[in-house]
Amino acid sequence: MATLRVAKPHDGEGDGEVQVVEGAAMSPWGPDAALAVVGKSHPRLEGPEKVTGRALYAYDVRLPRQLVARVLRSPYPHARVVRVDTSAAAALPGVHAVLSAEDAPEIPWYEDSRLFDRTVRFVGDEVAAVAAESVEVAEDALRLVRVEYEPLPFAATLEDVLRPDAPKLRPDGNLAGEPKTYRRGDPETALRAADVVVEGRYSTASALHNAMEPHGCTAAWEGEHLTLWDSTQSVFTVRQEVAEKLGLPEHRVRVIKQHMGGGFGAKQIAWKHDVIAALLSRRAGRPVQLMLDREAENLAAGNRNPTRQHVRLGARRDGTLTAIQARIEQATGAYQVGGEASNVSGMYQTLYRCPNVATEQVVLYTNTGPAVAFRAPGHVEAAFALEQAMDELARVLGLDPLELRRRNYAAEDQTEGKPYSLPEGLSLCYDRAAEAFGWDPAGSPAADGPKRRGVGFAAHDWAGGSGHPPGYAWVKLNADGTAEVVTGTQDIGTGARTGLAQVAAEELGLPLDRVALHLGDTATGPYSPVSSGSATQASIGPAVRAAAADAVAQLLAAASATMEVAADRLSVRGGRILVDGDLSRAVDVADVTQEIAPHMIRGQGERGPNPEDRAIRTFGAQCVEVEVDTETGEVTLLRVTTAHDCGRIVNPTLVDSQIIGGITQGIGFALTEERVVDGRLGLVLNPNLEEYKVPTVADVPPIEHAHVGVPDTVANPTGAKGIGEPPLIPTAPAIANAVFDAVGVRLRDAPLSRSRLLAALAAQGTDGEVRA
């Protein structure tokens, strides 16, 4: 079934550009499709390995003669590296390789910098590295490296870099690229003409990913072949980038990732640790493991860009939005890094129907670690502002916040003029969330004592979840009637291995326990794209289904011969081949595969393109109830109800897991998570799990997932879209709106810390504090 047609049409438009067309048409599984495996909860296939500690993560790799590497990091936010003397470190017994700007290859890295650059641009920037026989020896060796720095002026916070007298961090200034502007209609005129205008200045903190598993890898050479066991969201991206950096052909680089303790967007690219480990390993002639510790993880391996957002909404008295204006400032850190996609302005342009919209997005360099994508990058930040502004507008107009949103419903992507693949998706989310929660904006109990309750609502759209074609899968049918599915994608902890196996089992007509799913290895699987943008199931599910369908077609053709029945009368279900759907005349799949063994059925499948005339998006709506202690500023979440258009729900348990995890991160973003930077020192003060406070289970209330579960048959033939990122997007504004509902103060800065809440309550005179 594999089809790949390459054309180079000379038609005047896109003249002479190569076009690749692939993907045989498959009829989608519709809403009424009778599916046996897809749609059912099934525990993760690798669950037993994980809970018994046997699953092999990057850190668990132990090769003979393996060394451990550590990286010396800049103590200065901005400095010239004048001289690095590694001689004492290299001479320390147990040290086998050392690298620094003095002797490392001049490998291009971020923008115009080098792997070990002569300019360090944040505290934590890489200066030197050693490989040694133990962590202790490696750390001792780092203490022996003598570095002469020439400190340079710096600006480590967004506030500092926006000051008129801020130092110039780059020859061209502090702007990371030209401001991104978008405009439709005439928002200035519309704002002047609006019946109601709400305006607010919002800010969001830099959040740190803090995946449980830090970045890191184990590198080993066999001759000129390099193998990397890396903690990554994209084995193929890492292979391509590492091969390029090291000047190796791609077939000599193998990247493996079997299990992962989270990435959240920060592991989409080859990071310096990959190439440093490979270079040290080559120098030492021994395998090298380089895992980041928590501090390095939080300084140098990504963060969510802090933002300041100035928002204006204009509306008619009936709630119809007439203008949306947003000016956004955000800090990208020391470098612009691949995998960064913080399109903060996007949601302003698309979530609500509005003819007059202008956004301006200004990205600035700061002397902190590079910002990278973090679970719904941009939309999490934008939702905090836009969804509070909508709440405020609803209150000004005396409208139910949900009703206001319904009155401004967008059924198409207004930036592209394309209808959504499931135009009613967001509306269904509104219905399901409101119904399951019992949404009643007037229903908060009257004030009584210091503790007040409130409810909040927020919605979101998201550009992800559509899947990124292309991507490939193979299916092998073994002689015993079991199947192996091979893809080059990766399971970054979401349960993709299980969800994809379910798709394969469904199409193959096999029970799930007769299907094995192999992934996460560039040497054994065909190309698959990065697992970002909530894309894995939507990218590779259709490829797996296509490969399975290809195998089934071959199987039925073989069965037609062995059973002497026309192929079109045959089908597979529950591991048996049925004639005219009749179980009594069925044979086991194994009967056919045994018959032809050792000849083998091999299916191939590809992920066809997304439709050109529709915009595939994911949507969601969330309701929360909070209790605010007006005397202590403590916010307690009582419950969260969430509904998401993620298309078909392939495995409800796995989807619930994503929802619980996303909302948990949203609670952190709303209430406690904030990278604290001392602007005078250029120093991150809390690059640890002690003072950077992620939520604990005690902070997370009961979470109810109100299923939408309508297959998006336009999106792809499985009808499934992504759910990894969306649950986080509306959580923080829903909480902020609920806090407003409870106590009447609007907190426009995230996180909603105690000090901010207590200060706002005191300013309003409703802090409830009893004074003598």
Partner: protein, 332 residues
């Protein structure tokens, strides 16, 4: 972590001999939940650790006698949280232990080590900052990021004492029994904790060659009750933004004696004596508690970012007093 030697002596005398003359380069090791963290961060760099978990005379026993409750220095926070005697006679301590850290840490951390833990100030804990408390000349927190720092100015350093137990124990009028080369001595915790000085940049007066043997809590007065309340940035596993321990003994319908101690506001547990004085001899009511709370914070000198701790502390004081004077509250 840097290389260090390790010794596991059998007796206290052996341990003291190993500590003698070490001048801080030799450190006792019990639960290790703070010391090892400091060593990993290169803040503490001892040359030698003396494991005191196997000393014959040092234990984790919790016992009651005529002088009150005696708690061996090796008792873990988990022991304190669950011990029936502690829960009955010193519930403020059991509550403080339960509110501290995480279950994993409470299983390891000892009461002795808990009282000796160093501040959590992020400048102190950064290996890149040579702050005053580490021997430098400047407190970077004083004009820096100080939302978690002190309300009461006691020294050049504005870090706060992180121990929940210390706050409760001062309210319980507890003392520590210490042993050093010159023998044993007992100090009330009010004397034991002392703001750091130019010459002693620690939060207590324990000599480098001394060990804590035990903690003693005197028998509670008749009709005494106590509690510990803690405000944190999340529901569990965080150091106190503000902690309040209160013990109140009733004398008929009036307050006979009271101790109010604040944590998270100073370099030592902060005893609110003005508030205590104001309570004694009065009939408990909400107005009295509010006046006591105001008195307790009257001398506060907030830094740029920590002013929120004042209303927070006032509220916790009022609530703690209400809890320990409410009818039907458990005795202590």
């Amino acid at each position: 972590m840097r290389r260090f030697d390790y010794a596991s002596p059998a007796t206290i005398d052996d341990a003291l001999a190993l500590l003698a003359g070490g001048d801080g380069a030799v450190r006792p090791l019990a639960g290790g939940t703070d010391l090892l963290t400091l060593m990993k961060a290169d803040i503490a760099t001892p040359e030698r650790l003396i494991d005191i978990k196997r000393l014959a005379e040092l234990d984790d026993a919790i016992a009651l006698d005529a002088d009150g409750l005696s708690i061996g220095a090796l008792a873990t926070l988990d022991d304190l949280e669950d011990d029936p005697l502690v829960r009955q006679l010193a519930p403020a301590l059991a509550e403080a232990a339960a509110a501290a850290a995480s279950p994993q840490l409470r299983n390891m951390a000892t009461i002795g080590g808990n009282l000796l833990q160093r501040p959590r100030c992020w400048y102190f804990r950064s290996s890149l900052v040579h702050c005053w408390l580490k021997g430098g000349t400047e407190c970077q927190a004083r004009d820096g990021e100080n939302a978690l720092h002190a309300l009461f100015d006691q020294s050049p350093c504005v870090a706060v004492h992180p121990s929940d137990l210390a706050t409760a124990l001062v309210a319980l009028d507890a003392s520590v029994r210490l042993r050093g080369p010159a023998g044993e001595r007992s100090l009330s915790l009010g004397e034991f904790f002392a703001p750091p000085t130019d010459d002693r940049r620690t939060e207590n007066v324990l000599a480098p060659d001394e060990l804590i043997l035990s903690v003693r809590i005197p028998p509670p007065a008749d009709n005494a009750r106590g509690t510990y309340l803690k405000a944190m940035d999340r529901k569990v596993w965080a150091f106190a933004l503000v902690g309040v321990a209160a013990t109140v003994a009733r004398d008929g319908d009036r307050i006979g004696a009271a101790r109010i101690v604040l944590g998270g506001v100073a370099q030592t547990p902060w005893r609110a004596r003005e508030a205590e004085d104001l309570l004694v001899g009065q009939r408990p009511d909400a107005d009295l508690f509010a006046r006591a709370a105001d008195a307790a914070l009257a001398g506060a000198a907030p830094l740029a970012d920590n002013g929120y701790k004042i209303p927070l502390a006032r509220t916790l004081i009022r609530r703690a007093l209400a809890a320990v004077t409410a009818d039907g509250a458990p005795p202590a």
